[in-house]
Symmetry: C2
Subunit: 419 residues, 2 copies
């Protein structure tokens, strides 16, 4: 039996589930979910819980100046760059028990399984908890991994305020002070590879009855702000012919743009998430509508072509109602393609374990997106009930969580090398 | 020359314009409009100005317990119910110089013209300023005329608060105290007839190059609140096939409903004035959309049939996106048909004066709507630039204002009877 197979076999389903339930208690909501926003007292409790867990298992713990937390299982070569796995412990305000937490706890369980199986790896293996992935308290998200990877400067984040006016820098100081015994390491230390386990947050694995998603990358994303400007008018006295009705124009534009993104393969993601008609009085024809478009696809050229098409549609639709349309791109993230070696390792180990699997592209952003800029990176998805996420009802089975963790443990051994 | 013709001829265009400019100074805004909300210090100033004007002209003034102000020119029969004309002096927060004020000042100028022409009418003729027509400070509007007509109770309005928390009852006490010398009269004293002059607040007179709108009535109005409920979902991970996208369903519903109200005669008024997608995050597929419909038409049966059709459309459109639609009627006002005698008087006098005129139905509500429940009622519209109203840029010409006032003065003589 290979070291990878022994590591996978040592993964303990019930112990992993219990670890999830222990963390789910930190910020538990009456609705069965978790409210553990970044740098909050609940997030501090989770951090202390992870440090305590590592202490009990005899692993070293380190943190950086943003509070990203690393639990290290030494390798034969103590100076080699580690193979790292993890995700985040912070949640949405009404989040679930698995989004983020699973990736951290699967990595912890994998370290424990390697110990239990008596495996010595060539490289060190680390579990990491990145700080503020969600961005729901301090915007934007994926902040800890971005700072670690050198894509964002710590100094540029400390003055960000949460909705209550609390400075990120102050919340961070309290967060770091809560674990004074943890040693510091600099940002950007080289990693040999990064593998992140996560619930899919979508319905495809469940629908296809597969346990493991072999994640090829993360789809590209564009955000747009759109405005349609017409003229406020009295709802009672203004005939249709005299209206410049921004609301009607916007409804027609959204209808036409959505229809234009109805691709046969259902790969293009078109979402109007925010839409407000102004001035917003029932008896005034709206002179202005503001809305957003979130557009995603694995292929950048498709995003380019679709954005151009949407722009043409909204301009023409607004013009037909004597309105003016404006469409501004406010955010863009190019598609991320994961490393062939890491993706190959996930595929090999899923197959070796005889688990039903499928290739999948991530619809959501993850810390792995930034790690992919730093080192060979991949991800492992497991199903979640109904594809539901960012929701207190988010749910996954102990079996699926354990299966993903077995693949992860085996991958970590493969990537770190059995000594 | 008939008495009606002499009254019309005595209308003084420049004096009428100056009266408008004097009142426009009370609450003048930097943008050239008027902010004279009901029962405000500016509204009190306008009230005192009107009382002073009446005093200078030697007319008696009376008020009721809601502050509706009546300026009386006696008739030969001093006990006969008066013929009354007027409108309101309160404005929108960013209102214009003519909405409401014109109807009051035209009536005042008509009284002055009758005096100047030495006409004795059989019945008394009164100019009235109804309190709180706009409803922008104390909701709802058309309050003074509704209370006078017995359609609303004073006691039910005194606890209404303005946006700053001021009680209507307290503001009303100050309003009444500002003119302590004015005698009180009860609500609901019988009126022989009511004629209200108003700017059109729409573009039809201007477009048709007519000076006088002979108003046949006020179109009926229905207000609806609609909700479309789907399911919040992640914009990145949720394929189209798995979405219950309330935003897309609502855009399609508004598009289809608007198309269904595109009547050939452009008489049906369909307005979606408020539209909000929830939760309103750019990267969340909205699970709920709330919007309003304001539907107006002169004919109640058409409103019934159209409302039923809209309900069918929204239910089907939402259902096709796996969403649920709900449509609730929150307000209804039946169409008002004005009295044939009063409408006939307006037509006769417009024709006698050789003024270009057209039949028109009011798209907006007016105090005349409640007066029509009490006595024979009609209205006279004059053009306003671009149909613009509820706007600081609201504009009308001295010539058109005078023409409408000539028709009004002649109508008042016809309805009150030349002694």
């Amino acid at each position: 039996m290979s070291a990878a197979a022994r590591a996978a076999a040592a993964v303990d389903r019930d112990r992993l589930w219990q670890l999830h339930m222990d963390f789910a208690a930190l910020g538990a909501t009456p609705g069965g979910g978790v409210n553990r926003q970044a740098l909050s007292p609940e997030d501090i409790a989770a951090r202390r819980h992870m440090v305590a867990w590592a202490g009990r298992r005899g692993f070293n713990v380190a943190t950086d100046d943003f509070g990203n937390l690393f639990v290290r299982r030494a390798g034969r070569d103590r100076t080699a760059p580690p193979v790292v796995s993890g995700s985040h412990l912070d949640s949405q305000p009404k989040g679930g028990r698995f989004d983020g937490a699973y990736g951290v706890l699967a990595a912890c369980e994998a370290l424990a399984a390697l110990d239990d199986a008596g495996i010595v790896t060539e490289r060190p293996v680390e579990a990491v908890a990145w700080v503020n992935e969600e961005g729901s308290r301090f915007s934007p998200g994926m902040m800890g991994s971005a700072i670690y990877a050198g894509l964002r400067r710590l100094a540029d984040t400390v003055d960000v305020l949460d909705p209550d006016g609390v400075r990120l820098g102050d919340a961070l100081a309290a967060f770091l002070a809560a674990t004074p015994d943890v040693s510091r390491r600099p940002f950007g230390l080289p990693l040999a590879a990064y593998v992140e386990a996560h619930i899919e947050q979508g319905p495809r694995l469940e629908a296809a009855r597969r346990t493991i998603g072999i994640v090829g990358g993360i789809q590209g994303m564009r955000w747009f702000e759109l405005s349609i400007a017409g003229r406020d008018a009295h709802a009672g006295t203004t005939p249709r012919a005299a209206r410049r009705d921004a609301m009607r124009a916007a409804a027609e534009a959204v209808t036409a743009m959505a229809a234009a993104t109805d691709d046969a393969g259902d790969a293009l993601r078109f979402t109007v998430g925010r839409f407000v008609a102004r001035p917003g009085s029932p008896n005034t024809v709206p002179g202005r509508v503001d809305f957003t478009i979130d557009l995603r696809h694995p292929d950048d050229a498709t995003l380019d072509a679709t954005a151009a098409r949407l722009r043409t549609i909204v301009t023409a639709t607004a013009g037909a109602r004597d309105c003016m349309a404006d469409m501004r791109e406010i955010f863009t993230a190019a598609p991320t393609l994961f490393d062939a070696t890491v993706v190959g390792a996930v595929r090999r180990q899923a197959e070796a374990l005889g688990l039903a699997h499928m290739d999948i592209f991530s619809g959501a952003g993850h810390d792995a997106m930034w790690m992919a800029r730093l080192c060979p990176t991949g991800m492992i998805f497991v199903p979640c009930a109904g594809g539901l996420s960012h929701n207190e009802a988010e749910s996954a089975t102990p079996e699926d969580l354990a299966a993903g963790t077995r693949v992860l443990a085996a991958c970590l051994v493969e990537l770190a090398g059995a000594a």
